[in-house]
């Protein structure tokens, strides 16, 4: 593990130091074979859920991580939280590599908080709201705030910041007495009480009613603006990314294939996969447009070359062949190349059209 953080690969204009950086991260889940196949010598194939990801999160930015189910976006978020162990690669928090030591992880886990998809599952049904929120403080042995506040003052402040006012009214409630939106606010308050630098939110509104979602998103955006908390928001919903994200990263089969400023990625995407994803966002007045065929791909057998090539519309239409990049698409793995200011994509065809070489692939996992 290297002691210093390598140079930033995707700087923002007027970039500061990233608060969080991920370098060549690989996460694998062990594959299994049945007894009979095993006896006949079949070898299990690991699922390469995260397969060489590089990513930076800057202070106070909202970064949306989008992709199909099974693309590895949730695994990446969980690994950043320290909930999955990476096979290789590094995570840097404020420039320092994240160790595996308990004390270091504990401090890190205070400053990086997670908001899960389903607040009903995230809250203990037999704990009052006060206890749920104070638990975080107790786990981290925090008895006084930085300004000498008592535990109750800290809980009250977190509840108010999450929009549950007056906070005292909710102390003795149980989760089942609250609505879905209120429960998600409790989960957010539980994150805020520890005064985090980063919030990782995995589909924070997808289990909520449509009319309530906007309020929760408003809350998250407000926290960024007022407390300068950086956020990594995992979502399958590109419309949500449009409403709250500064930057958008698109993941496909364990790798980020496009990343850049939200407006650039969402209104003028570079990678054919991003274009395909945008096409499935429902549109008023008809469904008669072509969609990408096939099922979400299998992370146990990632195709050689560009991992998107078997489904790529540019390959199917012959555009890749006409541009002379088809052999590269089928054989040469590639990394993210800056094709516009701060906007990176991993596509042989688009690199060729921009008149640049494709970037080399991130180093493979050493065996």
């Amino acid at each position: 593990m290297s002691e210093t953080m390598p140079a930033v690969s995707s700087p923002l204009p007027n970039a500061r130091e990233p608060v969080l950086a991920v370098r060549d991260l690989h996460v694998r889940f062990a594959g299994r074979v049945g007894l009979w196949q095993g006896l006949r010598g079949a070898k299990p194939a690991d699922a390469r859920a995260v397969d060489g990801v590089n990513l930076e999160l800057y202070p106070g930015e909202v970064l949306a991580l989008a992709g199909e189910s099974g693309c590895g976006k949730t695994t990446l978020a969980r690994t950043i939280m320290g909930l999955e162990r990476p096979r290789s690669g590094d995570i840097f928090f404020e420039g320092k590599p994240l160790g595996r030591g308990t004390r270091m992880l504990r401090e890190y886990r205070r400053r990086v908080q997670m908001v899960f998809q389903d607040p009903t599952a995230a809250l203990n049904p037999r704990q009052t709201i006060y206890e749920s929120i104070a638990e975080g403080l107790r786990v981290h042995s925090i008895t006084r705030g930085s300004g000498g506040e008592s535990e109750e003052q800290l809980v009250a402040r977190a509840l108010s910041a999450a929009g549950l006012r007056p906070p005292e009214r909710f102390y003795l409630n149980y989760p089942h007495e609250l609505s879905g939106g209120q429960r998600q606010r409790v989960v957010i308050a539980g994150a805020l009480v520890l005064d985090p630098e980063i919030i990782v939110a995995d589909e924070p509104v997808s289990s909520l009613d449509a009319s309530v979602r906007g309020e929760i998103l408003k809350l998250l955006l407000g926290l960024r603006n007022e407390l300068n908390i950086a956020m990594l928001v995992v979502t399958h919903d590109l419309g949500l990314a449009w409403t709250i994200a500064d930057r958008v990263a698109v993941m496909y089969l364990g790798r980020i294939v496009e990343i850049g400023p939200a407006e650039s990625v969402l209104t003028n995407p570079i990678h054919p996969y991003t274009r395909a994803l945008l096409k499935v966002v429902p549109e008023a007045g008809g469904i008669d447009r072509p969609f990408l065929a096939g099922e979400p791909p299998d992370p146990t057998s990632i195709p050689p070359g560009c991992r998107f090539n078997p489904r790529c519309p540019e390959v199917a239409s012959g555009a890749a062949e006409a541009a002379g990049v088809l052999p590269a698409c089928q054989k040469q793995d590639l990394g993210l190349q800056e094709l516009r200011a701060g906007h990176f994509a991993a596509c042989h065809l688009m690199s060729r059209e921009a008149g640049v070489e494709s970037a080399p692939a991130p180093p493979p996992l050493e065996r």
């Binding site: 009613d209 449509a210 009319s211 408003k218 709250i244 945008l278 966002v281 429902p282 007045g285 099922e295």
Partner: protein, 327 residues
């Protein structure tokens, strides 16, 4: 005449906490070849309407009003007639196809069973028809011999669609058919449904909380709030230029990418949808309404005409005041 029409439907559940009026006077009509979308949030009564139409509500539930399928009242059908009508007169595609299939039966047999039970073909004929149905929903006929666990989520939902079409029903009810699916697969399944509906001239009632999906596949939309329909009309018009403030808010929850009004500006409503047992007096939406005025807490609005085949239950409509479009 409408293939399916619902007239003044009320559904009241009896619970330990007392009666819960889940549906409070709903009129709906679906014509042949038309897709009607029913949108609303959890607890608004949309799934209760589906269950009432299919007569699947719990035994002690009180249902009043009429549900006419080709002119015949479903609420008054005898059990035998009901059994004959289910699946051949109207069929349903439930949400969560994953759990609706029998895990220990080959899917071919499950599709064929529907056909033989309704006496539409013998064993052999039913298998042939099942194969044809699979092809129609975009699966190779050899998949007939698969068990449900061998199929992906999207493929299972395709099988459910094949089953719903097995007995050539006039009406298909789709209750959140794509909610559990991945975005890409959802688009494929929606497209398939729309193509089949068009090809077979089906009447379809499409229910989901996702307004953006409805606008894509439906001809008309009905928006429900607290057990009542609050707005109704041609789908694109309702979505783009809502007459009811609730519809405006709901449309705002599904931002159009590229639309500057939504950029860094999530919009939502304060409060939560009411629990069916505790619907507010007057206009049920008034506690959350940004446009509420002094009459709203006392006067219950009816569905007022709001131009071209449109109706909206907002007191501002008859006053000729337009509600603002999405923020």
């Amino acid at each position: 005449m409408s293939v399916l029409s619902v007239r003044d439907l009320t559904v009241t559940y009896y619970t330990q906490a007392g009666p819960v009026p889940a549906v409070r006077g709903v009129d709906l009509a679906v014509d042949k070849g038309e897709v009607l979308g029913l949108a609303g949030e959890s607890g608004c009564g949309k799934s209760t309407i589906v269950n009432a139409i299919l007569r699947l509500v719990p035994p002690k539930t009180k249902v009043t009003g009429q549900i006419l399928l080709d002119g015949e009242d479903v609420t008054a059908m005898k059990p035998g007639r009901l059994r004959a009508v289910r699946w051949s007169g109207m069929s349903v595609i439930f949400q969560g196809a994953m759990h609706a299939l029998n895990p220990v039966q080959r899917i071919g047999n499950q599709i064929a069973e529907t056909i033989t039970i309704h006496g539409q073909a013998d064993e052999k004929g039913a298998q042939v028809r099942a194969g044809a149905l699979l092809e129609q929903v975009g699966l190779p006929p050899r998949r007939l011999r698969d068990y449900p666990h061998e199929l992906s989520g999207g493929q299972k939902q395709r099988v459910m669609i094949a089953m719903a079409l097995a007995c050539q029903p006039d009406v298909v009810i789709a209750d959140e058919p794509t909610t559990a699916l991945d975005v890409m697969v959802q688009a494929q399944v929606l497209k398939l449904l729309k193509e089949l509906q068009r090809e077979l001239g089906l009447a379809m009632l499409f229910i989901t909380h996702d307004l953006s999906v409805l606008v894509e596949v439906c001809d008309r939309l009905a928006i429900m709030y607290a057990g009542k329909i609050v707005e109704e009309g041609p789908s694109v018009e309702v979505f783009r230029d809502a007459k009811h403030p609730y519809t405006t808010a709901l449309s705002g929850a599904f931002p159009q990418i590229g639309d500057r009004r939504f950029r860094m500006a999530p919009s939502g409503l304060p409060g939560d949808p009411p629990f069916p047992g505790g619907v507010p007096e007057g206009c049920s939406f008034h506690p959350r309404c940004p446009l509420a005025f002094d009459e709203c807490p006392t006067v219950e609005p009816e569905l007022y005409p709001a131009g071209d085949g449109r109706r909206a239950a907002c007191l501002l409509v008859p006053r000729g005041e337009r509600t603002p479009v999405a923020p």
